[in-house]
Symmetry: C2
Subunit: 316 residues, 2 copies
């Protein structure tokens, strides 16, 4: 493993973290750098400084080009890469990448996607579109709904490599706020949701049966603790079940084929919720999705192979 064979560097730069890889011309990973310096930190200390530090740690040669996805392209990020409006052909993302000016190497930032049919239906993503590009082959040509768990979970309608619609749910953020900062913290404590808990599956089904059970069921978690002495683990599981169940209830117009982009504990919770709701699904491993999408975009943008050498030789 040597930096000499690197064709480009790939960066997934989100709100709370940066992941950086050296990639060879075949998409192979030559090195990885991880940091907690997400968008907020980077905006204060300088994106270029942090990126160069990471590249130096990886032994990246001067002039090696970099393909970036995620919140670095937000308005409050490094350089804004304006949203691409739906319907969005994932293969055209690379062509909409924005080059960061005034750097000693080429750095391209991929755009996010925006649903902008109306104020009520507005939605945005930054980073997930690159994951989708990375798994586009696995998604195939037919209509599919991709579930992408996270702090803000996305349900994305894709067909033949084109994103036709998507919806964001604040589930992860709501769980954190409610279980740590609301009155429900007395019921949940620090407990994590357990996908195997009966309270989880019951809550999922209750909200699918009646979506209004989300609003009417939250305080009941605290009340059950007071009246029945319900424990912290089932309380946290019930809270999570209500929130994820509300996603399934809202996405009843999903495609017949559902693909879950599985990521660790959250992936297990969503798998259990889909099972509880009787929704059939396949799983696709999320781990390499961003990196694979960045590689495809880099190749398309001419950053890899011969182009990489050219790009690397060109001072910006």
């Amino acid at each position: 493993v040597t930096a000499r064979s690197a064709a480009f560097a790939a960066a997934d730069w989100g709100t709370t973290r940066l992941r950086l890889w050296l990639i060879d011309a075949d998409g192979g990973v030559l090195g990885e750098f991880r940091s907690d310096e997400g968008m907020a930190t980077a905006a204060a200390r300088g994106f270029a400084t942090i990126l160069e530090e990471g590249l130096a740690q990886l032994g990246a040669p001067p002039g090696l080009p970099v393909m970036v996805c995620g919140m670095a392209g937000a308005r409050q990020g490094w350089v804004e890469a304006p949203y691409v409006a739906l319907p969005a052909d994932l293969s055209e993302l690379a062509g909409r990448a924005i080059e960061v000016p005034g750097l000693p190497r080429r750095v391209l930032i991929l755009p996010g996607l925006a649903a902008a049919a109306s104020q009520e239906a507005a939605d945005v993503m930054r980073g997930e579109e690159t994951q989708l590009l990375g798994i586009a082959d696995a998604l195939g040509a037919s209509p599919v709904t991709v579930v992408m768990p996270g702090t803000h979970c996305k349900w994305v309608a894709c067909e033949g490599g084109v994103v036709t619609g998507f919806r964001t749910f604040m589930t992860g953020e709501l769980f954190a706020l409610l279980s740590r900062q609301s009155i429900l913290r007395h019921a949940t404590g620090d407990a994590a949701a357990d996908p195997g808990d009966a309270a989880f599956a019951e809550a999922v089904r209750a909200v699918i049966d009646d979506p209004s059970a989300l609003a009417s069921g939250l305080f009941g978690i605290r009340a059950a603790g007071l009246v029945f002495g319900t424990g912290q683990a089932p309380s946290a599981s019930r809270l999570s079940g209500l929130l994820i169940g509300a996603e399934i209830a809202a996405m009843r117009d999903r495609a017949d084929r559902v693909v879950l982009l599985a990521q660790g504990v959250l992936g297990k919770l969503y798998a259990a919720a889909l099972e509880a709701g009787g929704v059939g699904f396949e799983t696709v491993d999320a781990d390499a999705a961003s990196r694979s999408g960045l590689f495809q975009a880099a190749r398309k943008a001419g950053l890899t192979g011969d182009q990489a050498t050219r790009a690397g030789a060109k001072p910006a």
Copy 2:
């Protein structure tokens, strides 16, 4: 106005504040004391100390009895007044009051109510039951649903002075958490919800039409800010409309007659939401409800009139 004619003192002791009144034998108010020393503060500094300070400021005579409602009767409060299970006859609340032991005067704490049919349907209230007692005459004998806005809004089914069911919504707390601490803060800023804003009524109707629009609509508030530059006031109004609309959607099994216990700005928001949802309602002024309920309970418990003298003369 002199403290000599006081029959008893009435205290509404909630989570965040204490209101204390001197009341004569006819229910007339002789003096009022307000403090921010709610349950949390009082648990640290001593309920008895704070109560005696308030009574001293009002010039209450030694031995004057006190009727208390609210969170002072919670398990983590002063002395626990165990919940009364549904169905609960409001006229029997006084008989279930708990006397605080070891005090130089009689202090009775009214119980709250608990819905305990199942863990999923569990719910609790402390304080609202006393407001309901205070407006019981206005509610009459027929089935009625009482909407009680607040940090935790209650929808209460009453019939002939008996509470037969209720549901708590964390609307006020959710609005505060989402507009101040979630990603939606970037959209709402410090703006208050405006009941006259078209975005408010539209959001109310959207969630009544489809209750799953609560979960799927939250992040859209942020997205509309990014994509359309939607302002803070309509963003806050939309958030509030989604949350209050979810209450109306969940309470579709309400009684034909709906009574709104109107309280300031929140009362105006709920009135506008009910109107937007096409729900007919009457309003009852909330201001005197707690005091009136405490007076009725005190009379029933024998704290007023001759009994007050007797109680006041009796060292505990």
